[in-house]
Symmetry: C2
Subunit: 369 residues, 2 copies
């Protein structure tokens, strides 16, 4: 397994363990360009199987079981498969099966289980029950020999090597990339595959913002960032959710994520001059509404804004901002835009004096039923 | 329209307006037993139409479009229709249509739009597009003459009279009750209808806890409650979500809601001795895990707990607790358990010196697209 990547510390797995795993999270964040490149070189036949069923019309509905970070990959799939292929994607509540003992009837549909470890008993249970009903099942997991891998008809490995840090980073970008690949194979356009193959390079561009992000985090730590709101719309919504989760897990910030639309249905009441609003905003069909909202938050509410955006105008309203590369297609942007958010959570955690490699009270594999 | 109810202020709509709406939210919370009784006496034929399509197997999948409080009614529907009838229920992301211009193909499925006002353009857009595709469509709204009412094939009025307060209360319990009625008609068991008809009486029992809740709120306000976590599992999950939303809208508390399972996948890191955990916990198939979690939060983390429960053991771990009536079936409990949560948000808002009838920055009808 090669841990080597250009322009960053590269240590073998054994070396990392010798140094007490203190580099684990940072190492995995900066490994993402290489990790995704490895994934793009792996065998796609499990995705081709699922894509064929979608293309020939034998599958018309998709359901996904996932928890935590993987749930945000599921939300990404809802947008990608909905917007690009008109496929309805529903997120399943595993407890309907695991607590109440009833499995909704999904025969004929495609059911996807997403779990880095492949060990979460509730996700495994849903995929096993769906297979037994006669649904098509696809597992996305970093461990093909896990219970999840063994329960599904088709198993697509994330192919990014073992993830040591408790907080998932490279397995998240890998889950998104696998979903983008599924969409690419369904669509069958070579231009799309060309775009997907640019992802490792775009991830490298996003990583170079680390020094700025460190300064932003130091400034926010001085101001005592303990509560914030995180917003994003459409394709940016899973990024807002994942950014908030990383801030909670690592920096212990009460980060409350919303789609900008749901945010206007109530939680707007929370905004105050001392409460930062973090926003993921990109050029695209929702941009006019988003710019109006940013302006309103900054001018009318006096909220300090921290904006990740490819658009200078969006960044102009912000106290803190991070630019991401322009010209990334809408549907691939979440794979790149999460990187500055991961770095931000890491650097804020360090700035407030916590250990990003030892988040309190949580483990790498969570056995929920 | 009769606003009269036993044991509480009763004013005509005109009288309430004359008194400057200052009683609006409290009035609507205590009106719920009567409001739901009115709903139970209304014409059920729109629900019978939808139930017939489910019973004869012509509808096998359900999709729901909703935002804010109504989204929590959608989550309730996911559990009720999944657990009791094995029906898969997916929550739609309206922005796939309204931002990206693509409507997932839902022909043949039942698509439900839930909106108190019936005015939210994104929900109206989804229902109109689903109707045009040949899906069966059902609107649940308090205004049958709204755009939503006019776009759907079947329209079930909430039947609880105009809701004046910005924060939705009686329209939420009405939305849940309509979903419970749909399930009752699908199931066709008279025992279920008998249980549903007890809801107004159970709501009255829940309302008598107001004096205790006022004391709890006063105590929490003295301790400066600005952040909290709200947890609930399965049928209790929509209640946790709605409780958190009311606390945000009204009392400006950063209330972060989780299913207990997702909570263990990361946000557990947020728990500290000074951060209260609010929990909705009931006797039922998830209770053993829930009791272990409560004990762990109280003993291992030292978190102050505020528990709504029908079980004395669950309440025994709590600093503050509210009992709700026992012997309510699982699937109907969310309709009753939200009432102490509504009262709690109201009383905490008053205790911190805010006006529950003038929540900041939000309006009754939100025009998101």
């Amino acid at each position: 397994m090669a841990w080597t990547g250009p322009g960053h510390d590269s240590l073998s797995g054994a070396g990392r363990r010798r140094r007490g795993k203190t580099l684990a999270l940072h190492d995995e964040i900066v490994d993402q360009p290489d990790a995704i490149a490895r994934l793009l070189n792996s065998n796609m036949s499990p995705l081709e199987g699922a894509a064929a069923a979608i293309r020939d019309g034998s599958v018309k509905r998709v359901w996904i079981a996932a928890r935590g970070t993987s749930d945000h990959a599921a939300i990404y799939a809802q947008y990608v498969l909905g917007v690009r292929h008109g496929l309805p994607v529903g997120l399943l509540s595993p407890s309907i099966l695991t607590v109440y003992g009833r499995m909704p009837e999904l025969a004929g549909d495609l059911v996807i289980g997403i779990s880095q470890s492949g060990m979460s008993p509730d996700i495994v249970g849903v995929i096993a029950a769906a297979s037994a009903q006669g649904a098509r099942t696809l597992a996305l997991t970093n461990d093909v020999d896990s219970n999840l891998g063994r329960s599904a008809e088709l198993v697509m490995p994330l192919g990014v090597g073992v993830e040591f840090a408790v907080a998932a980073t490279k397995t998240y970008t890998a889950e998104l990339t696998v979903i983008a690949l599924l969409s690419t194979i369904v669509g069958g356009r070579t231009e799309d595959m060309d775009e997907v193959c640019r992802i490792p390079e775009l991830l490298s561009y996003a990583l170079v913002r680390d020094a700025e992000i460190k300064q932003i985090a130091a400034d926010q730590a001085r101001h005592g960032l303990t509560r914030c709101i995180v917003i994003g719309r459409g394709y940016d919504y899973p990024t807002a959710r994942e950014w908030a989760l990383k801030l909670k897990e690592l920096a212990r910030v009460f980060a409350d994520p919303y789609s900008s639309a749901d945010f206007l249905h109530g939680p707007l009441a929370l905004v105050e001059p001392e409460i930062p609003v973090l926003a993921v905003v990109h050029d695209g069909p929702a941009i006019d509404d988003q710019l109006i909202l940013l302006q309103r938050l900054a001018v009318e509410f006096g909220a300090p804004l921290c904006v990740i955006s490819d658009l200078a105008e969006a960044r102009s309203y912000a106290t803190w901002s991070v630019a991401i590369p322009t010209s990334i297609p809408d549907w691939l942007r979440p794979i790149v835009a999460i990187v500055p958010a991961q770095l931000h959570a890491l650097r804020l955690t360090e700035a407030v004096g916590l250990d990003p490699n030892r988040p309190r009270a949580i483990r790498k594999v969570t056995h929920t039923r």
